[in-house]
């Protein structure tokens, strides 16, 4: 087990280092950087010598491998360089904006899980066969909706038609309810799809037939016998969902004009502020690797049969 743990952590570290090197090579070592974009502007009236001085200040004149070493060392120390556009350290930019995005995406995730469970339970427990298959096909429809479009349509319906959620001076709940719903719907769709498929597979197994033959009700079978068996595939797509959650936050914050990491990302791309984007990309990769590691470690807790397999392999 500890061997397995070590090799998993080693793999994760390699992936992270590669992601870092790739993002560095792509974003930092390329000509046409953010310093030139900002300071070559004729309105600033800087001479080439002054620009060169600024480049020395940002460390952009050093050879690539020196820059790479510096950047790795700085990242390890928790310093991500300066945002050229905003003129503040990237770390501060992220520290200020991370909490809002974390709150939005964790609320979105909770709402998505609730919605997915609701749909999956309804698709299993609904009284009529055609109703069940109708509900089961809903997630594939939800998965085809563009996130930004969901946000705009929700604003139109709930703010402008029904006037339930005010746009001007909303309280905290009113400010968050539509963004959370926007974020939750596209996350809930794949969750529900995987969960429904997993429930179907479990339902086809002989032990369910035995339980049913003993006279158990549908709800009893679902909650007592199927749920724990069916939850594992849902957990393993958590890594994919992490990416969707982050991407969803970028779009949702843009649509609703909320401050957060998503807005920072969007502006970094518009201004070619590579230091900011690189920090966000590396942090996202870190989050992804961490989430997947947790999932792999949690899986045997839910399904003890996996423990035996890992033990046999190690």
């Amino acid at each position: 087990m500890s061997n397995y743990l070590l090799s998993r952590i080693g793999q994760a570290a390699i992936v992270l280092l590669l992601a870092f090197a790739a993002s560095f090579l792509l974003l930092q070592a390329l000509p046409g950087d953010a310093i030139l974009i900002k300071y070559q502007n004729p309105e600033m009236g800087l001479t080439p010598e002054q620009i060169a001085e600024i480049r020395v200040l940002y460390g952009a004149d050093a050879p690539i491998w020196v820059q790479f070493g510096n950047t790795v060392w700085n990242f390890v120390q928790g310093s991500f360089g300066y945002s050229v556009q905003a003129g503040v350290p990237v770390r501060d930019l992220i520290a200020v904006n991370l909490p809002a995005t974390l709150r939005l995406s964790s609320l979105g995730l909770v709402a998505a899980i609730a919605l997915a469970l609701l749909v999956a339970f309804a698709a299993t427990l609904a009284p009529l066969r055609w109703l069940r298959s109708l509900i089961a096909s809903a997630p594939s429809l939800l998965a085809a909706l563009p996130v930004f479009w969901i946000g705009i349509v929700l604003i139109q319906i709930f703010s402008f038609r029904l006037r339930l959620v005010p746009v001007i001076n909303p309280n905290e709940f009113q400010q968050l309810v539509l963004p959370v719903a926007t974020l939750a719907i596209p996350i809930a769709a794949p969750l529900a799809q995987v969960f429904i498929r997993s429930l179907d597979e479990i339902e086809a197994q002989p032990f369910i037939a035995v339980v049913r033959a003993k006279g158990a009700s549908r709800a009893w079978i679902l909650f007592r016998h199927m749920l724990r068996n069916a939850i594992l595939p849902v957990l393993t797509i958590a890594g994919v969902l992490f990416g969707d959650l982050l991407a969803g936050a970028v779009v949702t914050e843009t649509v609703f004009g909320l401050n957060g990491l998503g807005r920072v990302t969007e502006q970094a791309v518009s201004n070619q502020d590579t230091a900011v984007l690189q920090a966000i990309v590396v942090l996202a990769a870190l989050g992804f690797v961490f989430v997947n590691l947790l999932v792999d470690l949690a899986a045997p807790l839910i399904d003890p049969r996996l423990n035996r397999k890992i033990g046999a392999a190690a």
Binding site: V15, A19, L27, L145, Q156, V250, V281
Partner: protein, 285 residues
């Protein structure tokens, strides 16, 4: 003998039933192909489907709700929304086509190499693929766009490059499955050279599942391109791109719901159709 006599008529009956039996028409699948065919027709010959212009507005015609004259209403400078959607089809579809081509060729090549090479090469490629998969798709797309610059083609390439990793993973699994098959061993045994066998036997037989995935990715690419267009990294404003239409219509959403709702429905219909076709392809392969 009696058992043989008994079984003969039933097999004959069976084969006749099979002859008469047409391929079962699935209404949703037919509908999906119709949607895709219509979208392609929009892209190839937009002027056949609308008398209005996709880019030039009419004065005094601004922000009209849907009517007999303008089926889906008009926008803030009097352009017909339906015409904008029709003329925008070429941007979304060609973008998605470029994206899928990039992802498919890159991913299949990587998967073929990884699945048929020695352990070291395989491991190296798959670690790179893991790395690509560890960065959320949108962030990877944004990183590529920041390097290549804005524009329809660059966005399409970014979306395609993002899907290379998942194509490679799927294709590698298929190549490994096919390589174990008897006919591949037979081809090697009868003196086929490595590359020849790879090209003539392994590649074609491993493509079925990958093609179904390509159809799925077509829908994913349409969504991703619309999202990047909405964020403003795709085609510049006068060009009618579906994501951009929604972004522009957003300014008038208090009064003119049709500006955002209809382009969104166009995106959704094409994505749903692509997903349905992918499902059918996967069932066949």
């Amino acid at each position: 003998m009696t058992t043989l006599d008994l079984s003969k008529p039933t097999t004959a009956l069976k084969s006749r039933v099979q002859l008469v039996k047409w391929p079962r028409l699935e209404p949703t699948l037919v509908l999906s192909w119709l949607v895709i065919a219509l979208a392609i027709a929009f892209a190839l010959a937009p002027q056949l489907f609308t008398p209005h212009s996709g880019t030039i507005g009419l004065a005094g015609n601004q922000l009209k709700p849907p009517s007999a004259e303008h089926w889906l209403g008009t926008d803030e400078i009097g352009r017909d929304v339906f015409a904008r959607i029709i003329y925008g089809a070429i941007n979304s579809l060609s973008g998605a086509l470029i994206a899928v081509t990039v992802g498919f060729t890159g991913g299949t090549a990587l998967g073929l190499i990884a699945g048929s090479s020695r352990r070291v090469v395989d491991d190296t490629i798959m670690r790179l693929v893991d790395t690509l998969l560890s960065v959320p798709g949108l962030l990877l797309q944004l990183s590529i766009i920041i390097i290549l610059g804005f524009g329809t083609t660059n966005v399409a390439i970014a979306v395609g490059a993002t899907s290379v990793a998942s194509f490679a993973r799927l294709s590698r699994a298929e190549v490994i499955r096919v390589r174990r098959a008897d006919y591949v061993e037979a081809a090697f045994g009868s003196g086929g050279r490595f590359l020849n066998v790879l090209w003539r036997h392994v590649l074609p037989n491993s493509l079925g599942t990958v093609l179904a995935y390509a159809a799925l990715q077509f829908g994913v690419a349409i969504l991703a391109i619309a999202t990047l267009g909405f964020l403003g990294y795709g085609a510049p404003p006068p060009i009618p791109e579906w994501g951009l239409l929604i972004a522009e219509g957003r300014k008038y959403m208090t009064t003119s719901w049709w500006l955002t709702v209809f382009p969104g429905l166009a995106v959704i219909l094409v994505v749903l159709a692509a997903n349905r076709i992918s499902l059918a392809l996967r069932a066949r392969s």
